[in-house]
């Protein structure tokens, strides 16, 4: 992380001690220069309540005043504001981080406990593994799959996505004018700021230079947008005039220097043997943007002071480039300055190891070119399909109906009697054709009997009542792999809300069943109570001497 030369004072009057302020993971360290001094200091970041700091321009030195939860305050005097702001930024960031850690505190406690003894963890898994795999409740990989799933769940929860840059161009944001006064208002979001910085290094640089030393952020942006506005009016004469007497403004209007040199670098990288000469036909440059203006109106071409003219094509290209690069820094976009710096840093890096990334973007280029091939030239990459070596369904499913197969297969006998079988069929048909249906078709008493019996079955089917609704509930209880591999914490929550659910359940059921139900539920609740007691005891024991107790036991009791 980063260190700073600072003076530390416990109060405003204190004349302070020279020393180095170090920002470390989760804490803030102050090491005085003379070892003798007793004013060592260590502040845990989570404890920092607020930070105040002196504004630029005020004659006060760059003070940063951290007050922690206990209420006592530490004041650091930096050599310059730049450091101070940097430090501040980092602290805020740190704070933010432990903010989002805040919610999963309890889990954290446990995990830390686990971390303490990986050995213990191993042990636990061994035992679980034994219990389940040896006893054939689970197969090897089922066991691990479950484990993996649980871990996976966490990991997913952690990972957070970033938004890609808007594909809409920043310069597209139109000023909103209210009719009466002739003031125009741009509204500016951190997102837009980021994009501006990303697309216009010059502006970014300007920001780093001017803010806060020369001007406040606010007037910086007003200036910027004034320039934008001027530009959008296309009244270059005025623009030129303004630029003349305000060099900051000029910065915005002038074509971006940094970009220009980047471009030059890139060109330098290009293989010299490549013939970059284009013939007349390809030359569109003489028609300005093909006459397109950003807002669709035709462009009035003004040869003079062309330096204040940006072409739409340039903007588009630049924007495209930035979008493709994507968001390669991760800072909270609230703090404009930090954003600017971060971006700047990235640029430095990329410039610095331009050589190293050479091959990187070499192979990127390679991939690009591969993709850029014409489709019909590309070999159709269809994947080989997996063949299915399987028998004919008929005998394949011979086995499916095991219970039916035990039918005497009349093969031998078949041969003989099949034909007289057919014969008899035909006879009986003939019989009907000659005699007609047998009359009476069915004896009344038989019919009556049949009807009666059927009615019997119906009526019995109607008033069937549930046999033993009281199926032992203890086997229903969550006792299995999942909970075993689960953290105790999770289990506890699960159990406690299942407890409440049980309660709710009792209410939900209509009264006549409620008694039955409570019979069902009671053992479960008792079991849960037992589990809770055990858990609390367990917890105390663990907290007493570092986490020895294992989740396994807690579950075991359930």
């Amino acid at each position: 992380m980063s260190d700073w030369q600072v003076k530390y004072k416990s109060s405003l009057k204190d004349r302070g001690t020279e020393g180095i302020l170090k920002l470390r993971e989760g804490m803030l360290l102050f090491v005085p220069n003379d070892p003798t001094s007793d004013s060592k200091l260590k502040v845990l970041t989570p404890n920092i309540k607020s930070q105040k700091y002196t504004k630029e321009g005020s004659k006060k030195p760059a003070w940063l005043n951290l007050s922690n939860k206990q209420g006592d305050s530490h004041i650091f005097e930096f050599q310059n504001y730049q450091d101070m702001h940097a430090c501040r930024a980092l602290i805020t960031k740190a704070l933010a981080k432990c903010e989002e850690e805040q919610p999963k505190k309890p889990a954290a406690v446990l995990t830390s406990a686990e971390q303490l003894s990986i050995a213990d963890l191993e042990l636990r898994f061994k035992r679980l593994h034994k219990e389940f795999v040896e006893t054939k409740v689970l197969t090897e990989d089922e066991f691990w799959a479950t484990r993996k799933k649980l871990l996976g769940k966490d990991s997913i929860r952690k990972s957070k996505q970033q938004v890609g840059l808007k594909s809409m161009m920043v310069s597209g944001i139109k000023p909103s004018t209210d009719g009466r006064t002739n003031r125009v208002t741009f509204n500016l979001t951190s997102e837009i700021i980021f994009q501006i910085f990303a697309e216009k290094p010059a502006v970014r640089q300007a920001f780093i230079n001017y803010v806060p030393s020369k001007m406040t952020e606010k007037d910086f942006w007003t200036k910027y947008f004034r320039a934008e506005y001027l530009y959008s009016t296309k009244n270059t004469a005025v623009a030129a005039a303004e630029a003349a007497e305000d060099e900051e403004l000029a910065v915005f209007l002038k074509p971006d220097e940094i970009l220009a040199q980047e471009a030059r670098q890139k060109i330098r990288r290009v293989d010299p043997t490549l013939d970059m000469e284009a013939d007349q036909g390809d030359d569109y440059t003489h028609l300005m943007d093909h006459g397109i203006q950003r807002d669709g109106t035709m462009d009035v071409v003004e040869p003079q002071n062309g330096q204040f003219r940006r072409s739409l094509l340039q903007d588009l290209n630049r924007h495209a480039a930035v979008v493709l690069e994507g968001r390669n820094i991760d800072v909270d976009s609230e703090n404009t300055r930090s954003v600017a710096e971060a971006l700047a840093r990235v640029k430095q890096v990329s410039k610095a190891d331009g050589e190293t990334t050479k091959d990187a973007n070499q192979e990127r280029l390679a991939r690009m070119s591969r993709l850029a091939e014409m489709e019909d030239l590309q070999a159709p990459q269809n994947f080989p399909l997996a063949p299915l070596s399987i028998k004919d369904p008929r005998d394949y499913f011979e086995s499916q109906q095991g219970n039916v197969v035990n039918e005497p297969r009349g093969a031998g006998t078949l041969k003989r009697n099949v034909h007289e079988a057919y014969g008899s069929l035909k006879e009986s048909i003939l019989e009907i054709r000659t005699k007609g249906l047998r009359d009476p078709l069915i004896k009344p008493e038989v019919a009556f009997e049949v009807f009666r019996s059927l009615t019997q079955t119906i009526s019995t089917a109607k008033n069937i009542i549930g046999k033993n609704p009281r199926e032992s509930f203890l086997d229903r209880l969550p006792k299995s792999t999942r909970d075993e591999v689960l953290h105790v914490g999770k289990l506890k929550d699960a159990m406690s809300n299942s407890y409440s659910q049980l309660e709710a359940m009792k209410e939900s059921v209509q009264s006549e069943l409620r008694h039955q139900l409570s019979l069902l539920v009671r053992p479960m609740q008792q079991a849960l109570d037992a589990a809770f007691q055990h858990y609390d005891a367990d917890l105390q024991r663990r907290t007493a001497k570092s986490a020895r107790g294992s989740a396994g036991e807690a579950n075991g009791s359930v």
Partner: protein, 422 residues
Amino acid sequence: MSNQRKRPNGEREEDDEEDDAEGIGQWERAYVDDRSWEALQEDESGLLRPIDTSAIYHAQYRRRLRMLSAAAAGTRIQKGLIRYLYIVIDFSRAAAETDFRPSRMAIMAKHVEAFIREFFDQNPLSQIGLVSIKNGIAHTLTDLGGSPESHIQALMGKLEAAGDSSLQNALELVHEHLNQIPSYGHREVLILYSALSTSDPGDIMETIQKCKKSRLRCSVIGLSAEMFICKHLCQETGGLYSVAVDEVHLKDLLLEHAPPPPAIAEFAISNLIKMGFPQRAAEGSMAICSCHKEVKIGAGYTCPRCKARVCELPTECTICGLTLVSSPHLARSYHHLFPIAPFDEVPTLTSANDPRRKLGKSCFGCQQSLLGAGNKPGPCVTCRKCKHYFCLDCDIYIHESLHNCPGCESIHRPKSVSLMEE
């Protein structure tokens, strides 16, 4: 940007009409919307006749069928019977477009719902999850699960469109999810993409490679126009890429993903899955089901491993995670294993010495007369094995829904013979 795209089917005039829409009455509007005149054609005598869609439909159908069977050239191929499919729906700004009426969003939702139902009907052992893209971020609507209703609810809840769309974020998210699932499962992603651009935080190419590595089969259905990146994605991961021209087409394209896809050799990892075949609980017995956590009287099944009660099959035991099915559920997938070969078309011109003289003039399946107008033999198809003739409707029905050939089924063929024919 996606809002100045033209659709082939004469969206242009449509727009123009909309311009003077206030001029015309509601009743005219109705016709402007459903271009009823397009369903008419002029016959030789110059009269207007409704186009007989059936013939066209059948032709299309046969083309599709042949295409599919071509994939499985003769030899039987494995199908991804146990699928873990994530449906990614792009609810970015572009989804609010109204070139599909009432809006892409609505249409997507409608057909995805239909798709989900069909999917579970065809792949009872598979699971679906829903992801939506909005404001450049991918959100998980539902985790992988087997019950259509829950998905559909979640989907219908989330119907508004905004912001950009990010292919990469979506892929990343889905990838994280799908990495968790066991190796035997076939990991698939189906993306309904209506935006014409993707704004990603990083390099999407890497993401695509990542997906390829972890055997995700990504398919995309575009609603606007073909995009290179989508095409690339699908090519790399062995999925299908298609762009819908209109609502009907969209529906068809979606439903093409319902039957299990042929398993790609390098992806297919066979394995034994542990499954429970629970017995139905006694009528009127009372228990607390582990899926809804409420008291159920009567119906329900009991997990053979942890004895937990679940309401319906197929499902995954909420307690011990065992897959619970009943034998019919397995049976539902059998027809994917044993698809019936497409029937051959019978050349109608050979009416003089027509073999149908012998085989009777009616469809073997439904007894419908195969004689077209004026007693000349109409179009019909025949099964290679049993040589029986079928009408076109039966042809479709047999291949789409029934999955066995009545002719072959009603001939008892001794094993020896049948093996020969394999």
